[in-house]
Symmetry: C3
Subunit: 414 residues, 3 copies
């Protein structure tokens, strides 16, 4: 039945208001599903960005990690994560579990609650999948999947609960998740990377040996897919069409441009740093996308883009083997974004003023400690239960595609 | 002119109701175009999923089949298929043909009728393109395209006419097309595959020889593209934004997760069965996506995913050379979905209760017979007119890219 | 806050009208962001279509051109281009520059102005990126980027200003930009291609030597991505959801089908001409997509598709080395589309009648002169400042990936 027929019977103020409510709820569901589908597309973007940046012998494995963390994330966010984002009360869990075995409570308001769950899920899955790019080419699939389930089921939701999207124990401004999603994912990755150690051959006599991935076009595609999905990520963060903001679309675009340009210049036209810098610009704008000016967004992006090659090389020297550069692209870009939201969000610099730099800095300290700490802990604890989180040296040399999946990415080339 | 200006003159109940009608119709067109574009994206998803699963020498050919069946489907669904879905009356055809040579009748209501046609088309094209994955690497392009035109112009529309979306001669519950689209496509493929026979070298002394495709990342990408498009496919099946359902977004997601996990476990982390299982979960949920609980959707997905490697290997043993596994991914997953809608849709299991298991079983029998029967018949009849539906042994050995298109997929590798 | 809560307080006509205005503005922003994101996706489509059609040694370079012209286009369209599309008055620029350093003026009406800016930007970026496919494999990155900045910042906006979307000095019908975007981009490319000259080895003793690209699947993917994005491009051209047209979705689809079929037949199933023909059909329908009948759209597409191989081969004979065929796909298809809008848009042929063939022909002459002329001029002037727009013969033979970026597209294959 066409929507016009549903509202067709409106003849007085009461029936008009009822029609308006149907329009409002159904538009909100449309909004959440369309933008949520764009954010879901980012799962594919990560798969491509990471797949392109690993060597041929590990492509299937990193892609399977990306696929499987999504699959597992759906289940853990359904059973535990979603409720945990807003409540620690056991009765909230039993109430939710009562509902998801049925349909009755989801038929009202066009199922707005489940559309909201879906949108929350794709954010949780983004936070979780970031780590896979850091730990690629040597982490066991099994160990990785346990870590991923714990991230989507516990660590991310608990962090949301503490922060501004949940109980507001910790108050700061983070519209779309520079801290909540990206810095969290990036520093969880850092902890896991430290726990794992570098790939065999990555350092020879203390000197870093570059290991470029197998397909730059695949990595470039990944960055573009992420960028497309980011419009869902940022603009969708209003959670309702009635509060949508065109400013967010513009600042997202301009930070992307700044990030790509910053990295392009800082890396002398490097074909991997440029798309990664573009993504870093997008990461950095998430926090203040709704409160900074278009020009400020461009500046935030440029800063985030320039730091990608610098931070990547700094960490590389420190023995941190971050295969896809996720610590710089999501971790440091995320905290830069949070800090910049505190600076450029101030009324003095053209922002809306609705932000405190102190609170932003506190959030930065918390996410670095929470992320790195739990990342390290995950590595240790899961390693205890899975006989170490790292594949054997033989498996690593053979490649994880043959070692774990018995098929290479391009079977006819064997 | 901004929408606010269009409705700006509303000052009384009548003008408000007029404004509401403009909003309703234009939102419905937006809904159909956005979700229709997502479903159209699935054409590309099939192209990638199938392209990755064939050998290097047949990639262009399978992609051209996917492109061309879309091109031809647009024309045949315009001229015949669309009207046939709702009417067998010749006057309905002449009325439609009168309209499509002009624009006058499509300017009212924001062109809602043509938006509906577009959404119907992308479904018809999905049903048609499924077969290409089964018959790859040996079916003549010409024969395939004739089959495809008949499917989008006649066989699919006639099936819609008979079923619950059309005249309701056959009544069953199939919200987004587990039966109407996927099982139909899968069993048409089965008939064509039987008519074709297996590829040269696929069976040696009665033993099946695996022929893995040339690019697992391409196949994985295809599965993800399909998954993104599926949100359009399922959530769009309300056909109007006023009847959109958040439950559908959630059950679609959870069946995808179940399908991927089921196949991952049943195939021991296989890199082709896992993405195909994910798709099978999506196929299976189409029927009951609006009436089953989130937990039931997860279970439906798991069943559909587990059966993919089992059914594929069973058919393989029976001499059915289904290159991309479309019979298990679309055919059997589709009928499992229809049956599960009958089970988990019952009020006793938390469903909305609006379904009859008997009717679902009848629909399953009908689609298996209709699909397989017409698939076989298509193979025989088209073969009669095109000198056999199969390329010569020389062409098959050379590869269909050079034989039919005179260019290989990766020209610099020759 | 859910949209229903925002409008929940409506109790009389005044508050209902206020609610309707919130719905109208927020829906328009949703419309512009979703369709704008689809159009942005076309940047990735061009990257893939062009990346697949160049040789392995130049893939990164053409992709970097596509990425960087987007990045630079965002900045130049922000600072100059956007204002220039509607005004030459200096005060309009200072007013805009005053606004983009702040947020205050963008918080009203859900930021509708910036959403409109975003949608304008993605169109400008499309016009600019077309050229990269024509000049690939030999143009310096630096020279290209200067050209691209001038196109998005000056040449495209000035053309918009003159034409029907701006001051209407020149009046013709061009709903989505067959002339304004595609023919302009295609003929700018022609001028640049002439200024550059053909690639080394492209002509031997006056005879054209084919240089097929390195990956047909990549090119096919590019065409599909463009096609998906085109629904945003054409349907989004109503600029407001209240004026959305289902006719546009249908004519876009049918012209795509006609274009693909026309090229498939005219090229004997060629795997590059077919996807390019599909794109040419989409280019051609942009002008009249809102005023021609479905059948006329199919015919327009067929004409545009058939001419692609013919025009490409004609230009090839004339010494025009158009690597990706952008002159035929965007240039001539664009002017064919404008002329066909004048013909099939007439009431006599079922069109809405709102078009003058004379005006369309004048626009065609203007765009060919403006595009080719400024393209040539860009080549000469930029060459003067960058030491020629062409890489050295050594760099060209080595490949631009290693010469300009020090990394090949598939590093493990070196």
């Amino acid at each position: 039945m066409a929507t016009a027929e549903i509202i067709g019977s409106a003849t007085d103020v009461n029936s008009i208001v009822a029609a308006l409510n149907t329009i409002a709820n159904s538009n909100d569901v449309l909004f959440l599903v369309v933008f949520g589908a764009l954010v879901f597309m980012m799962q594919w973007g990560f798969l491509m960005l990471e797949g392109g940046q690993v060597r041929k012998k590990n492509v299937n494995n990193v892609m399977m990690k990306n696929v499987a963390d999504w699959l597992i994330g759906c289940v853990s966010f359904l059973l535990i994560g979603y409720v945990l984002t807003t409540s620690l009360d056991p009765s909230a869990f039993t109430a939710w579990w009562g509902k998801i075995f049925g349909t009755a409570s989801f038929l009202a308001d066009n199922g707005l609650e489940l559309a909201t769950w879906f949108f929350g899920l794709v954010f949780a899955a983004t936070a979780a999948t970031i780590a896979s790019g850091g730990v690629a080419e040597r982490m066991k699939l099994k160990s990785y999947l346990i870590a991923s389930a714990i991230i989507t089921g516990l660590l991310y939701p608990l962090f949301v609960y503490i922060g501004p999207w949940g109980s507001e124990l910790l108050v700061f401004h983070d519209y779309a998740g520079s801290i909540m999603v990206h810095a969290l994912g990036g520093f969880l990755a850092l902890g896991l990377i430290i726990a794992l150690g570098p790939r065999i051959g990555r350092y020879v006599k203390g000197k870093a040996i570059p290991m470029p991935g197998h397909s730059i076009p695949m990595a470039m595609s990944g960055a573009f897919i992420l960028a497309v999905g980011w419009y869902g990520f940022n603009v969708g963060s209003s959670l309702a069409v009635g509060e949508i903001s065109g400013l967010v679309a513009a600042t997202t675009t301009l930070a992307m441009a700044g990030g790509g340009l910053g990295a392009l210049l800082a890396s002398n036209k490097d074909v991997l740093f440029t798309p990664n810098g573009l993504v870093a610009g997008l990461v950095a704008i998430c926090a203040g996308t709704d409160i900074v000016s278009p020009i400020a967004a461009l500046v935030i992006g440029i800063i985030a883009g320039i730091q990608v090659p610098l931070v990547f090389k700094f960490l590389e020297k420190k023995g941190i083997d971050d295969v896809c550069g996720v610590v710089s692209v999501h971790g440091t870009a995320g905290i830069i974004g949070a800090i910049c939201a505190g600076i450029f969000g101030s009324a003095a610099l053209g922002g809306s003023g609705d932000v405190s730099l102190i609170n932003q800095l506190i959030a930065v300290v918390v996410v670095v400690l929470y992320g790195t700490g739990f990342g390290l802990l995950l590595g240790k604890v899961i390693g205890y239960f899975t006989g170490g989180i790292r594949v054997t040296a033989e498996e690593e040399k053979l490649g994880l595609d043959l070692a774990e999946h018995h098929l290479s990415a391009y079977p006819e080339e064997d």
